[in-house]
């Protein structure tokens, strides 16, 4: 199978829409198959990598924080980075810098960079295909 380079553009903020989970599944699948993936996080999606996301207890579920094991997308990103390393593929994750600044979410997990729409365009030019998953 030919190795491909795929770019994804994500736009939804975390904890808001199942499109985010679907996007992560697509990225995970591509990495497991050995493809290289570039993710450009735009608008609310820049908060996916925010390092201060925290798990919490859930009284309705009757579980403490450890039992609840609330899924935080920053941990999904780290897991995808590890999956890429194991499969010999490459995952690059870039946040739109202006989007980060206006939301104050510049503290991100390791390996996440910041860039501009021009960087996205260059990524797209260097990729086999690009998929935009926009907020609706």
């Amino acid at each position: 199978m030919d190795k491909k380079t795929l770019t994804f553009v994500l736009m939804d903020a975390p904890y808001e829409n199942s499109r985010t989970t679907t996007a992560f599944r697509l990225i995970d699948s591509a990495l497991r198959k050995g493809h290289d993936v570039k993710v450009f996080a735009y608008e609310g999606a820049v908060a996916l990598s925010f390092a201060r996301q925290a798990q919490h207890p859930n009284a309705v579920h009757g579980r403490d924080a450890a039992q609840e094991d609330h899924p935080n997308p920053k941990e999904w990103i780290v897991a995808l980075q590890q999956a890429a390393a194991q499969s010999g593929s490459k995952l690059e994750w870039m946040n739109c810098g202006l989007c980060v600044d206006e939301r104050g979410v510049g503290e991100v997990v390791a390996g996440v960079t910041r860039g501009s729409p021009v960087d996205l365009w260059k990524w797209s030019e260097a990729s086999d295909n690009t998929l935009v998953i926009a907020t609706r």
Binding site: V9, Y42, S116, P117, W121
Partner: protein, 128 residues
Amino acid sequence: MARKYLQIIETAYRATIEEQDDTCVWIAHAMRGGGADIAVLLRGNAVNYGCKGQDASGLAFGEKRQSHPPDLAGDVAGLIGKGVAVYVVEDDCAERGLERSDLVDGLKPVKRAGLAALLAGYDQVWHW
């Protein structure tokens, strides 16, 4: 050779007050500024972006008055001024009662039935 991009903007007025623009029109401006070969298609409610006479000014919360409201028609006209082809779906305009005279100059009307042929002319189609 650089790819040809078509940005389809369909979801309209997505936080345009907070952002002072439509972020997908904005990204088209930014990519064009970087040298991308780009075109835009306005469809659905986003055809209203081409409508002249919009005025989103006047927002205030307490003593905080918001300056620089979004100017969506101006941003669309700005793209056209940069040589970007901006298409608008005629059928979507008609359904919303928009006449050609309501819209900024330079928009390229396209019929819904002609979209497939239009899309076929681009290497990348991004749907916002």
